[in-house]
């Protein structure tokens, strides 16, 4: 049964004192029991309720998309001059959310931030699901979605390649690479835990299923050796992708010549925004989950506080981006840029802009307060605000830039239709459905990595009171 308790071959490096990230009293066994129990226990009632709700939303998605394919993108609110609306807003929003997982898993792994261990698994899962949601939009938003494969470079009788100067082609590569690497990284990380579940489950069916997933993992030294190498390599691969994906997404706008899009600040500002949104989403999910499964011992206040700190830091970068946008708009003396900025503040979409500033720049300032940073409720509320704020940010960038661009004669206005909302809410349904399936059938915290950090584990420290 418990074969892996002392399996870690990596010898702990000498390190300075750090408060541990697991509540006191846990051993490798209790960690394994506690986390695998979430999967192996009888399905709690609330799960069915939650799943049913999510699945209903998924059906909304199905209906919206069916109607979309039947009628065309005209069922949405897009028009000219605003050719992109909810479709691209949601694409960028979801892909932004999809940043936190890989950042937590890869970058924090490389930086040896052990506190990441208890959140990386579901953060990665969330990343995958968010990327799945995001990845659908570029296809859904096409006028002729059945020709989406034309965006892929493949040899064809027309002897035509995609147009490599277009950022949309870069998007195809960036997003698909990111999705592939994230999926691999997540799966590789799951293998030892799947083996644990295989060994622990009493159901024959699940034994086979988990056994398949575990790919014959037996925890031998050779396994561990190869595994660690592979995991580190993947982490190394994923790290630049975190930066590149949203940089490329920001090029969708920065390459354009529309005032409000055409700005050099976009790549860093987008990446920071993505991490900001991603952490907000991790918090939004982690706080109810730890409560529901009683995982407060593993996802401790320290985790929450750290995530709060990351949010504060990236939030400030985003605010810096806003300030710089305004400064350069003014400093450039460019008529169009100046008008665009003024129009954001006093134009038809001013309320969206005020809401954006409130959500993204004002509310997170509460995170300076330690009491707020360590309070799950406060954090939950703030991260909700940030999620909304980041959505509004994309709305502002896309819609307000387009709706009044160069020629006053072609100004217009945009608002989403019921089908825009249906598709958006529908993708939330997809996301939540996948998430509910995930938390039910896979360990939402990495068991084997947690074992390494409890006292007595390979990297375990001493018991300390976690400051609350």
């Amino acid at each position: 049964m418990a074969t892996l308790e002392d399996g870690g071959l990596v010898s702990p490096p000498p390190k300075p004192y750090k408060p541990p990230v697991v509540a006191p009293g846990h051993t490798t066994t209790t960690v394994t029991d506690k986390i695998s129990e979430v999967v192996l226990q009888r399905t709690p009632k609330w799960w069915f309720l939650g799943f049913a709700a999510s699945f209903s939303l998924l059906m909304v998605f199905l209906i919206s998309v069916t109607w979309l394919f039947a009628k065309g993108v005209g069922i949405w609110g897009i028009n000219w001059p605003v050719g992109w609306g909810f479709d691209i807003i949601n694409f960028v929003w979801w892909i932004g959310i999809g940043h936190a997982g890989t950042l937590i898993s890869a970058i924090l792994l490389l930086l040896r931030q052990e506190w990441r261990t208890s959140i990386n698994r579901f953060a990665e899962a969330m990343t995958l699901f968010a990327v799945a949601c995001a990845g659908m939009y570029p296809i859904l938003h096409l006028g002729r979605p059945w020709l989406a494969y034309w965006l892929m470079p493949y040899p064809n009788t027309m002897n035509l390649w995609p147009q490599f100067r277009s950022p949309l082609i870069w998007d195809v590569f960036a997003v698909s690479t990111y999705a592939t690497v994230s999926a691999l990284f997540w799966y590789v990380g799951l293998i030892p835990d799947l083996a644990t579940l295989r060994d622990r489950t009493r159901s024959r069916v699940w034994k086979v299923i988990y056994g398949f997933g575990a790919m014959g993992w037996r925890g031998s030294a050779a396994h561990w050796h190869n595994y660690e190498t592979a995991y580190l390599l993947l982490a190394g691969l994923a790290t630049p992708l975190v930066i590149s994906v949203h940089t490329v997404v920001s090029f969708d706008f920065a390459i354009g010549i529309i005032p409000g899009w055409h700005a050099t600040i976009f790549p860093p500002y987008f990446v920071a925004g993505a991490i900001y949104a991603g952490f907000a989403m991790v918090l939004t999910l982690a706080i109810p989950l730890r409560w529901a499964f009683g995982l407060e011992d593993f996802i401790t206040a320290r985790h929450l506080q750290n995530m709060g700190k990351v949010m504060l830091a990236t939030g400030l970068i985003v605010v810096y981006g806003y300030v710089m946008e305004i400064f350069f708009g003014w400093y450039s003396g460019n008529l169009y840029e100046r008008f665009m900025l003024a129009n954001r503040v006093v134009g038809p979409y001013r309320f969206h802009w005020y809401a954006l500033i409130f959500c993204n720049a004002v509310v997170p300032q509460f995170l300076w307060v330690r009491r707020v940073r360590t309070s799950p409720l406060w954090l939950f509320v703030i991260s909700m605000f940030v999620s909304v704020g980041m959505w509004l940010e994309r709305f502002i960038i896309i819609v307000t830039s387009l709706h009044r661009d160069f020629l006053p004669g072609s100004w217009g206005i945009y608002h989403g239709t019921i089908w825009d909302w249906g598709t958006f809410i529908g993708t939330m349904g997809l996301f939540l459905t996948l998430l509910f399936l995930f938390i039910r059938f896979l360990p939402l915290i990495s068991i084997f990595e947690m074992r390494t950090i409890v006292p007595g584990g390979p990297r375990g420290g001493e018991y300390t009171e976690v400051p609350r």
């Binding site: 000219w80 096409l142 006028g143 277009s166 949309l168 390459i255 354009g256 160069f406 020629l407 004669g409």
Partner: protein
């Protein structure tokens, strides 16, 4: 049905053998002896008038089919259901034309698949003709171009003519003859008419009335005259709702008889329009715009420019190109006229004074300027202005010595002109008095909808025994009629019509009537003793005695004089050289095609469409006659070939030389020497004083603080006759940019005073009548206390136009047809959303007025660069000096060298009136779909070419600028780099091509386009399923599916055809030969297109002009479509008054 014999008559059948349904032969014989039956009978039943037949007639369909029987059993129900199912298939069993599906054994001489033919014909509006060349592809007309030789066209058209092809194929057109609302036959119609005529014969036609619109057709007028001769007590009434009734009244008062005024803008240096949209309105608008522009255009070598003052109550297209614009409420407008007359010494002093200081300055300055240009000036009155004011203007023109120079008077073009208001009043009075037995309403008149509301036409109409309506549509009037005869469209008809100067054009059909529609000639012939004459026979017969004389010596090359307007006829259409004929079609000058002349001289009769020649290069040549074509194209596979006219019937009696003359006249599209005679006329002395007195007393009686409602024809649906046409419904109305609706236009100040805003509904009441739920539109440029509601909306029956807008006719009483004073406007608090294509958008109930913001930004961004003639004289480079053009070499890559062609376009803003002909021309040429009001509201109209309108300066008295915006075909196109699939790419001739097949629809190109000229098929807009609308499509242009981006291509299909021909001919494309659709339709010639690499093209010259500038060129898109800055020629004496809004270039 009134025609039904009363049931009581069945009593006569009492003697029929009981039990037997049919009378015996002997009995029939007996009955025949007793009474006089019809001369022809189809069956013994009919002859005998049995009860069965009576019932048959009564029911139209036999028993059980027309009503629900009593005691209905399940079995019976099933029987009927199955029978109707089985019979449903039979309704499709109408006899179809024979279709031959074998390929041509012998190629018809003129039909070459893929090459269109052009036929000279005419389209009418309010009776007046505009000569056009109709493009026909394999027997189906697809596009209308102006006839360069026609005085009302000179090669251009208005919006209505451009939209004619859609009306032709409109699925909402009346498709069958109706008798009491059910399908009938022409034979039964003729039968009933003959019966009626026989009964009226002894009375001399007492009770027979004909109602038409304005008739200029000599043939139709002749037919009516003959009818009136045969039935001396019959009467001919006329009602054209938007005819210039007041102008006619003014002429009668001034000259003692009706005369038409014809202006010559080529002779005028200083012009004043009083409320008039003379450059963009009425039968001569296209011609006047052309002549005006000719004197307006300034180039470096011609530093002269005419000057136009516009005084008006509602912003008109003409005033957007005016040098000075003054807004005055309607009553002040009349006072202004009087003051001007006084200042010029036409009328005596005293009386009304102008309230406005600016207006007083205007009177002084304008009078001075007009006097300084006596004989070379022109004052044009709005034809809907009060007769008194128009009399004064006649007086002013006379005093200035303009008569005979810039104003000429001609005998009325209308046949037998009458006071139409009196005419319809008399008709209604007679109908009410029961004096009308039979009323024939010809040629689409719709008096139930258009007659003055106080006449209550519909009520009176019901007192008429037999009511016959003839029109293209089943409309409000046809609902009240016993018979509705579906009319043939003008493109399906033989007819004739006169243009504004009297020149006659023979209308020839392009296609057999799609629904066996009848022309007015044919309907009238049913009232004659030759009821089955075709309109071809009728028209030919009319001209057979006349044409040879008129056309003597007419070889098509002579430069003729028509009504004082010089018309160049030298288009070589008759020379037999295809090259010259081609030049006529798409070229701009005679002889342009000589280099390509294939020399196929066919001796007078031009047979073009030959395999070679420049005629083909222009896709065309002007075809000879349709009858000629018909002889060879009877077996066109589409079955829609040119109609086979029964040649010979009319020609048999024709004198020698007629045939030749007929063909020449058809070919040219004009009948020579038919322009109306010029007459000298002097204003009667008393008339002016009387008019002045009237204006003074009217001014005294003015009700303060009340709004004056102006009723005018709509710029896109006219009097309502085009309400069915979706192209015109969706064409943004000039200045307001509204689509699909009219609205109550108010000035910003008046709207504020009345506390109403955009889209809000009001009740408008005047003269005891109230129109509720009218939506308001606040329009800068409107005079205060003035409201405008255009005609043609609020229709009950108008196909896709049904229920759109608000019915101005409901407020239009016979005593105030065009100006309704003392109107009360009461807010109702409701909302009616209007679809506007420019600015003004609803945001969650909040109205954001973008006009001020947009005009401010447009000015800052130099969207429309403007300047004055004086600036230009002092420094011709002043526009160039304002421009910021990034250097050409500021690029990492070398610039592409265009070795062959380099297409480009230039648009002269100085002369663009915003009439929107180009918009519809583009729509017709490029198969651009209509999207409907909902989609326009969503911001998705598909027009490839739009006309942007900007207000500059004071919102209460703005300058208005028009700017047509097609694709700029940028050298460094922002759309091209962002398309992921290379669906939009640059051609080696500088075109920004759109590859529809490759487009996946990311819309990134549209987002990145600074000009927002790309249009996306958000839904499936193309009418794919309708075979009729499919016929309207240009076969040279792809019909786009949903999800595909599209945009202006510079009419690449025309370019490619020209290139192919040029390759075949091994000759370069002659300069200025190739025209885009918008260019060809433009009345003022504001658009030129061509090869920038070739100096002989006009476009090269325009591009080199110092006034040339690129839109947003500072962002380095290097647009290929450029603009010539809008120059004005302001009067320095008025300059301080408008200083604020001057120098729009700032």
């Amino acid at each position: 049905m009134d025609s039904v014999k009363p049931k009581a008559k069945c009593g006569a059948e009492a003697s029929a053998p009981a039990g037997s349904g049919r009378p015996g032969v002997a009995e029939i014989r007996e009955r025949l002896r007793e009474k006089k039956g019809p001369e022809f009978w189809r069956s013994l039943d009919e002859l005998a008038g049995t009860p069965e037949l009576e019932e048959m007639l009564h029911r139209e369909f036999p028993r059980y089919a027309s009503e629900w029987p009593e005691g209905f059993s399940r079995r019976r129900f099933l029987q009927l259901t199955s029978a109707s199912l089985a019979l449903a298939g039979l309704t499709g069993c109408t006899r179809q034309d024979v279709e031959r599906i074998v390929p041509y054994v012998r190629q018809p001489e003129q039909i070459i698949p893929g090459k269109p033919l052009f036929f000279a014909t005419a389209l009418t509006l309010g009776g007046y003709a505009t000569g056009v060349l109709a493009e026909s592809h394999m027997g189906r007309p697809t596009k209308i171009e102006g006839n360069p030789d026609h005085p009302a066209s000179l090669g251009a058209t208005d919006v209505f003519a451009q939209a004619a092809t859609l009306t032709l194929y409109d699925p909402d057109r009346s498709q069958t003859l109706l008798r009491a609302g059910r399908p009938g036959t022409w034979g039964s119609f003729v039968g009933e008419v003959s019966a009626t005529l026989r009964s009226l014969q002894p009375l001399g036609g007492e009770g027979l009335r004909i109602l038409t619109g304005t008739v200029t057709s000599p043939t139709l007028a002749d037919q009516i005259r003959r009818l009136l001769t045969a039935f001396p007590r019959a009467r001919w009434h006329r009602w054209e709702p938007a005819a210039p009734h007041q102008a006619q009244a003014a002429a009668v008062r001034a000259f003692g008889r009706p005369l038409d005024a014809v202006y010559d803008f080529t002779q005028a240096d200083v012009m004043l329009t009083i409320g008039s949209d003379v450059l963009c309105h009425g039968p001569a608008g296209v011609r006047y715009a052309h002549d005006f522009a000719a004197k307006r255009r300034v180039r470096a070598n011609t530093m002269a420019m005419n000057r136009l003052y516009a005084v008006e109550s509602v912003p008109a297209n003409s005033s957007t190109v005016a040098d000075h614009r003054l807004q005055l409420p309607p009553d002040q407008l009349e006072t202004f006229t009087l003051a001007l007359a006084q200042a010029l010494g036409v009328a005596g002093g005293g009386g009304a004074a102008l309230a406005d200081e600016t207006a007083r300055t205007w009177v002084r300055v304008v009078a001075e300027d007009l006097r300084a240009h006596a004989g070379r000036s022109l004052v044009v009155a709005d034809e809907y202005l009060s007769p008194a004011a128009q009399v004064l203007i006649h007086g002013i023109n006379q005093a200035l010595g303009n008569v005979g120079r810039t104003v000429n008077f001609i005998e009325p073009v209308e046949a037998d002109p009458v006071d139409q208001l009196q005419s319809i009043r008399a008709l209604v009075a007679d109908m009410n008095a029961g004096r009308v037995d039979t009323l024939l309403m010809l040629d689409g008149v719709n008096p139930v909808y258009t007659a003055p509301v106080d006449l209550r036409f519909a009520e009176a109409l019901q007192k008429v025994r037999l009511r016959i309506h003839h029109g293209l549509y089943q409309d409000e009037t046809s609902e009240y009629c016993h018979w509705h005869v579906n009319a043939a469209h003008e493109l399906e008809s033989w007819s004739d019509a006169r243009s504004f100067d009297g020149t006659v054009t023979i209308l020839q059909p392009l296609i057999d009537p799609l629904y066996e529609g009848r022309t007015a000639h044919e309907v009238l012939s049913a009232f004659s003793n030759r009821p089955d004459s075709t309109s071809y026979d009728i028209v030919r017969e009319f001209w057979s005695g006349r044409l040879a004389g008129l056309a003597a010596g007419f070889d098509g090359r002579a430069t003729g004089e028509s009504g004082g307007l010089t018309t160049t006829l030298g288009m070589g259409g008759f020379s037999g050289t295809i090259g010259d004929a081609g030049a006529m079609t798409r070229g701009s000058g005679a002889g342009a095609g000589t280099g390509l002349d294939a020399g196929q001289n066919t001796g007078g009769q031009m047979s073009q469409g030959g395999t070679a020649g420049a005629g083909g290069l222009l896709q065309s040549g002007v075809s000879d006659t349709a009858s000629d074509a018909a002889g060879t194209t009877g077996s066109v596979a589409s079955g829609a070939g040119a109609p086979a006219a029964p040649a010979g019937t009319g020609a048999a009696a024709a004198p020698a030389g007629f045939e030749t003359a007929w063909r020449r006249v058809l070919n040219a599209g004009i009948v020579p020497n038919t322009a109306a005679r010029r007459v000298s006329a002097a204003v009667a002395g008393g008339a002016v004083q009387q008019a002045a007195g009237e204006i003074v007393s009217a001014a005294r009686n003015r009700a303060e603080g009340r709004v004056t409602l102006l009723v005018r024809p709509d710029p896109t649906v006219w009097d309502g006759r085009f309400a069915w046409n979706p192209w015109l419904q969706e064409c943004p109305k000039p200045i307001s940019k509204l689509t699909w609706d009219n609205a109550l236009f108010l000035s910003p100040r008046t709207a504020e005073r009345l506390k109403v805003d955009f889209h809000e509904t009001v009740a408008v009441s005047a003269g005891g009548r109230e129109l509720r739920g009218v939506a308001v539109w606040v329009l800068p440029g409107m005079a205060d206390d003035t409201a405008l509601l255009t005609l043609g909306y609020g229709r009950r029956k108008a196909g896709k136009g049904t229920g759109q807008g608000f019915d101005a006719y409901a407020l239009r009483a016979s005593n105030a047809l065009w100006t309704v004073p003392g109107v009360e406007i009461r807010p109702l608090g409701g909302q009616y959303t209007l679809a506007c294509t420019q600015n003004h958008h609803m945001i969650r109930g909040d109205e954001v007025n973008e006009d001020a913001e947009a005009s401010d930004q447009a000015m800052k961004r130099h969207i429309v660069r403007t300047g004055t003639l004086e600036q230009f004289r002092q420094n011709p480079e002043f526009i160039r000096e304002q421009r910021h053009i990034p250097p050409d070499d500021m690029t990492m890559y070398p610039n592409y060298k265009y070795d062959g062609h380099a297409w480009g376009m230039a648009i002269d803003l100085s002369v663009c009136t915003g009439c929107s002909s180009c918009v519809i021309a583009c729509q017709a040429e490029n198969n651009i779909p209509v999207v409907g009001k909902e989609q326009v509201l969503a911001g998705r109209e598909m027009h490839w070419l739009r006309v942007d309108r900007y207000f500059y300066g004071d919102l209460d008295a703005p300058q208005i600028h028009n700017q047509p915006v097609p694709c700029m075909h940028c050298e460094t196109a922002p759309c091209e780099v962002v398309c992921p699939v290379a669906a939009t790419v640059h051609s080696d001739e500088g075109l920004n091509d759109m590859v529809y097949n490759r487009c996946v629809g990311t819309r990134y190109c549209s987002n990145n386009c600074p000009y927002k000229v790309r249009r996306f098929n958000f839904l499936r807009y193309a009418p794919k399923d309708d075979p009729l609308l499919a016929m309207a499509m240009n076969p040279d242009v792809t019909v786009r599916m949903r999800g595909v981006m599209e945009k202006c291509t510079y009419c690449v299909q025309r370019i490619e055809q020209a290139k192919i021909e040029s390759k075949v001919e091994r000759t370069p494309i002659p300069a200025n030969w190739l025209k885009t659709a918008c260019q060809q339709a433009c009345p003022t010639g504001a658009i030129v297109f061509g090869d920038q690499n070739d100096e002989s093209w006009e476009v090269t010259e325009w591009k080199a002009d110092p006034l040339n500038y690129g839109l947003l060129e500072e962002i380095n898109t290097r647009p290929r479509t450029t603009y010539l800055a809008k120059l004005r020629n302001p009067n320095p004496a008025l300059e301080p008054a408008v200083k604020g809004s001057e120098h729009g270039h700032a």
